[in-house]
Symmetry: C3
Subunit: 150 residues, 3 copies
């Protein structure tokens, strides 16, 4: 019991300042993505950042590579008027020994079409590695796993 | 690339203190609304606050005006036992040159009836203008857009 | 009008530090629960903590009692591959005269099965009593009410 309690106590060592900035970083980042501002989304990654949005596909690398991947991915919505909203919840941060921060976040994709009702799917887990440098928080890598696949 | 990165860096200048207080402000405000405490909800606006809950309708103005609008709007639920919950996500703040703070927030309305399942609709965008004065945060204006209309 | 405004102002006196730590506490706590780490979940309660997850059932008491309750409850999912995600929103804190902190939070349970779509139900209200001691935040009691029952 003591051991378990200690684990729970030592697990979340992130400063409140980092926690709040990370949350706000995500708010702007995902509003960029859902508004189709792919350059701005890619700019939230480090220069050599990696982004794997689906299991089993190769991650996109570097900011130009991430923009290309997003443009390619969104071709499926050409001529399909759709508004997607990526919701996040329960952001949990953990400092890593190499100075990066691991961030694990719940995600739900909400998809809306004109006159329709929101489609709430899929449910995902976001596995991020953050770096907090002089220019603020940046994503070193993002990997998404899907709750429907297990 | 440098330009884009700079944009991303300079966009979110809000202090962590304001971010946390704004989030908590919303928590209390929306719990007031969903509990039918319309006076308390209206009191989160400035004296001359404006509230437009649906596109195309005139905004309600002043606290008494907002209370009247909410009472009117909720008449549609007379005799209909319903619990609504307004969920918020990805609050993004931006300081404006006039000293106010623009807040853009995702919203989903969750509607529940006895024995039923939650109905998750509509998906909205909340466009708020906040002022942070001696009595704390107040809403100068709120305008809601609906993702289903585009 | 003045009275109402004052009420709204004095209601949320929690420090930004406590607000951020409470939010992060919930993130880790619920990720523990949804991953089936019941010992870690129970360790987020005080030694004499109480947990009532459904109205009308007796609350589980003490950490070992909470673990037993969770193991019992999850037997219903034996042989049923299911991933549940408890989403939280609008955490509102209020200091109590006895030094504890009352926390009222919206919750939605998202249930996913392989190849299926997320089931978003039920909608709940979480009524927590937090204590903030030398080892950090702990739950003195948690009581869940269901929006479908009213």
């Amino acid at each position: 019991m003591t051991t378990t309690a200690t684990t729970a106590t030592t697990a979340p060592p992130a400063s409140t300042d980092l926690l709040v900035r990370a949350q706000h970083f995500y708010a702007h980042q995902m509003q960029h993505l859902d508004a189709g501002r792919f350059e701005e989304y890619a700019a939230t990654f480090t220069e050599d950042g990696e982004f794997q949005h689906s299991p089993g596909v190769d991650p996109a690398r570097t900011r130009p590579g991430i923009v290309r991947e997003l443009v390619d991915f969104h071709r499926r919505f050409d001529g399909d008027p759709v508004q997607r909203r990526h919701w996040f919840n329960h952001m949990a941060l953990e400092h890593q020994e190499d100075g990066t921060v691991r961030s694990t976040v719940y995600a739900l994709v909400v998809t809306v079409r004109p006159g329709g009702k929101p489609d709430v799917a899929p449910s995902c887990l976001v596995h991020d590695t953050l770096v907090d440098g002089p220019e603020g928080i940046r994503l070193k890598s993002r990997r998404i796993t899907h709750d429907q696949q297990f």
